[in-house]
């Protein structure tokens, strides 16, 4: 059984589909890259996967781990192991970063029928995860994403991923905002989290990230759907020639 199976998905806002007929199968252990021009609907797809209530699914299905994902709300999906690394993580002033991470961690433990961890024990867990993504400890006591630079926000997303240990991670443009050194550290962290039981969908504009996290499949996304799929060599072609050579025939 596949971990994720999207079939002919149409979704968007009331009356307007942004995602138009996406089909995609992701198995455990795989890394998929989705590349495509601005405004093509990549983030919309990601948010539909995570269960954003503003989007309407007009057609198609998503099966996750054998269950109907569209029947689950955002929190249930998260607890079932779906993770979205946001393209634009929101700032939440007043919410302490470390405390928030502990709440999320505990929500998962409770779901698994385990005891919650106290702040002291969690501190140790967090230290280790912060090291993994190369994040300074001072970000523990900051308000969630408030005043973080673009790169710091992205690191914080990966930190959350590391803390939660999801089965299916969708990382939406996690590379933008990171300088090359930070990108290497983050990519190394993501690679350490990868194993045969989980899967990764990387949404990106640039092939740069794919030098550090090697995809098994590359999909070209345009006009709300996947117009071409291939191996990692497709990313190099896209980088060298731009999207026009693949998008043009589709028009």
């Amino acid at each position: 059984m596949s971990l994720l199976e999207i079939k002919d998905l149409h979704a968007g806002f009331e009356g307007t589909d942004i995602v138009k007929g996406v089909s995609l199968t992701v198995n455990a252990g795989e890394v998929h890259a989705i590349m495509g021009p601005n405004g093509s609907g990549k983030s919309t797809l990601a948010k539909v996967l995570a269960g954003h209530p503003s989007y309407v699914v007009s057609k198609g299905s998503i099966t996750y781990n054998g269950n109907d994902l569209l029947e689950m709300d955002a929190e249930e999906r998260a607890l079932a192991g779906v993770f979205l690394g946001f393209q634009y993580p929101v700032e939440i002033p007043g919410v302490n970063n470390a405390e928030f991470l502990r709440m999320a961690y505990n929500a998962k433990l409770v779901k698994q029928g385990e005891e919650e961890v106290d702040p002291l024990d969690f501190d140790g867990i967090l230290d280790e995860k912060m090291k993994l993504v190369g994040m300074d400890r001072k970000y523990k006591d900051r308000f969630l994403n408030e005043g973080f630079s673009g790169g710091e926000k992205k690191k914080n997303e990966i930190l959350q991923m590391a803390v939660l240990g999801p089965k299916l991670s969708v990382l939406d443009e996690t590379d933008s905002g990171l300088d090359i050194d930070a990108l290497k550290v983050v990519a190394q962290g993501v690679n350490k989290l990868n194993n045969k039981d989980n899967a990764l969908i990387l949404i990106t504009h640039y092939q740069r990230l794919l030098n550090y996290i090697e995809p098994d499949f590359v999909h070209v996304f345009s006009g709300g759907t996947i117009i071409k799929s291939g191996g990692k060599e497709l990313a190099h072609e896209l980088e060298a020639q731009g999207y026009d050579w693949v998008t043009a025939p589709a028009k």
Partner: protein
């Protein structure tokens, strides 16, 4: 409150005049303060209780408050342990306790403040012409009727004079305890006048608490802050839910003087904070902020007038309210920048988080600018919980309820956390945030 407490036959003003006569004839009034009491009641007669369209009370209905026939709160014993529990640990050797407005020497402790801290009864201090004149002058153009009533009945006030260059190791706490009443509603009129000499620094926390319901605390605070001096004035208002609270804070800032005023209100029948600040000389700096969490029919109102009278001064205001049920809040703030006050920096920001359809918030930030080279901004937001923030938290596995309560809590907490006293932050987390949790549970 019982209907019998409201004497329908009299006008509210007549009831106050009658109470005033009784007060002057009784043993609470101090002879030395009689000129102030007299000037206060005359001012009251002139101003009268606000009618509906009164420009100072556009958003605040004081009808019920004015129509309540109060007795003056008498001296009343309080449980020492209860009082102790209201004293912040950091202030245990720097606390002044007042019960129904009267200073309690035996419950207070000033040992941590040293010799430079001087406090006197207003009744005694008023013998000095300067102090008497300060009090009378403040009445000349008093435009707030409740502040005039305070002067009409003042008998317990204190005068604190901080000498030049004085600084203190611990913050000063003023604890105002109201004992309320089992029968007729009672009122007290605390008065504080504080002068900070040049370069003096004082951090103070003013906490208000009630041992029971049915009271009206009507406080007036005056600050004269001399060159280079700085004050933080944090009002923690945790009065009984069945009480009324008015406070007027008047501040004069001289050259390079700083004033940090904060209020946090736990909500009651009616709370109104009135700030009147004059930045009189170059380089003065003002910060005002307030936070409240309102449920049921609770009300908190802030009325602010800031006068920029000199160049190179700055003022900023940040107010946040979380309003549930039929709670109400208002913000009516005007910054007046005089002709000569070039290079003024000023901003006002009011954020309200509305948790119910019946919650109500009025906001009127206002600028009156007569200088041409200034930087002034103002803004207001009134909104529900942000859907994207809620979604973000839920994608991390937090339940709808937990995510909502976290967002509501954080909305006020982002302001509370900036208070530089850990004891106060913990206390407010306890009162304000618990209130939200209770509502969400």
């Amino acid at each position: 409150m019982s209907e019998s407490a409201v004497k329908k036959t009299e006008s509210p003003e007549t009831a106050v005049l009658a109470l005033h006569e009784k007060f002057l004839g009784g043993d609470q009034a101090k002879a030395s303060l009689r000129p102030v009491n007299q000037a206060g009641i005359e001012r009251f007669e002139l101003l009268k209780f606000p009618h509906k369209k009164h420009e100072m009370y556009t958003f605040v209905n004081t009808h019920q408050l004015a129509g309540t026939a109060f007795e003056l709160a008498a001296d009343s014993p309080v449980d020492t342990a209860w009082v102790q529990s209201k004293i912040y640990p950091a202030c245990k050797n720097s606390v002044l306790v007042f019960v129904n407005g009267a200073f309690q020497e035996n419950l207070s402790d000033l040992s941590g403040l040293g010799d430079s801290f001087k406090i006197r009864c207003l009744a005694e201090a008023v013998a000095e012409d300067e102090i008497k004149q300060t009090l009378l002058d403040s009445l000349e153009d008093e435009n707030d009727v409740f502040a005039a009533i305070n002067s009409a009945f003042v008998h317990h006030g204190v005068w604190i004079d901080i000498p030049a260059k004085a600084t203190f190791g611990s913050p000063l706490q003023l604890l105002y305890v109201s004992t309320g009443s089992a029968s007729a509603p009672v009122t007290s009129h605390p008065r504080l006048i504080m002068r900070l000499g040049e370069m003096a620094e004082l951090k103070m926390i003013v906490a208000y608490a009630g041992t029971r319901e049915n009271y009206f605390i009507n406080a007036v605070n005056d600050f004269i802050v001399k060159d280079g001096a700085g004050v933080t004035f944090t009002q923690v208002q945790k009065d009984d839910a069945e009480s009324w609270h008015c406070s007027k804070t008047r501040v004069q800032l001289h050259r390079d003087a700083r004033f940090f005023g904060r209020n946090a209100s736990s909500g009651n029948r009616l709370t109104r904070h009135h700030y009147e600040v004059r930045l009189k000389e170059d380089g003065a700096e003002l910060h005002l902020s307030g936070a409240s969490v309102l449920v049921n029919q609770e009300q908190v109102h802030n009325f602010i007038r800031i006068h920029h009278e000199a160049p190179h001064c700055s003022s900023n205001q940040l107010f946040k309210n979380v309003i549930n049920d039929k709670g109400r809040s208002s913000f009516d703030g005007t910054v007046i920048v005089d002709k000569g006050a070039q290079l003024t920096n000023s901003d006002q920001l009011i954020n309200n988080l509305m948790l119910s359809d019946e919650a109500h918030a009025d906001n009127k930030p206002n600028l009156m600018i007569f200088a041409d080279d200034v930087k002034c901004t103002h803004g207001t937001t009134v909104g529900q919980i942000d859907e994207d923030q809620l979604f973000y938290l839920k994608t991390r596995g937090l339940s709808q309820e937990l995510a909502k309560s976290l967002l509501t809590t954080s909305f006020v907490d982002s302001l509370i956390q900036t208070i530089p006293f850990p004891d106060v932050v913990a206390d407010l987390d306890e009162i304000l945030l618990k209130k939200l949790e209770a509502k969400h549970a």
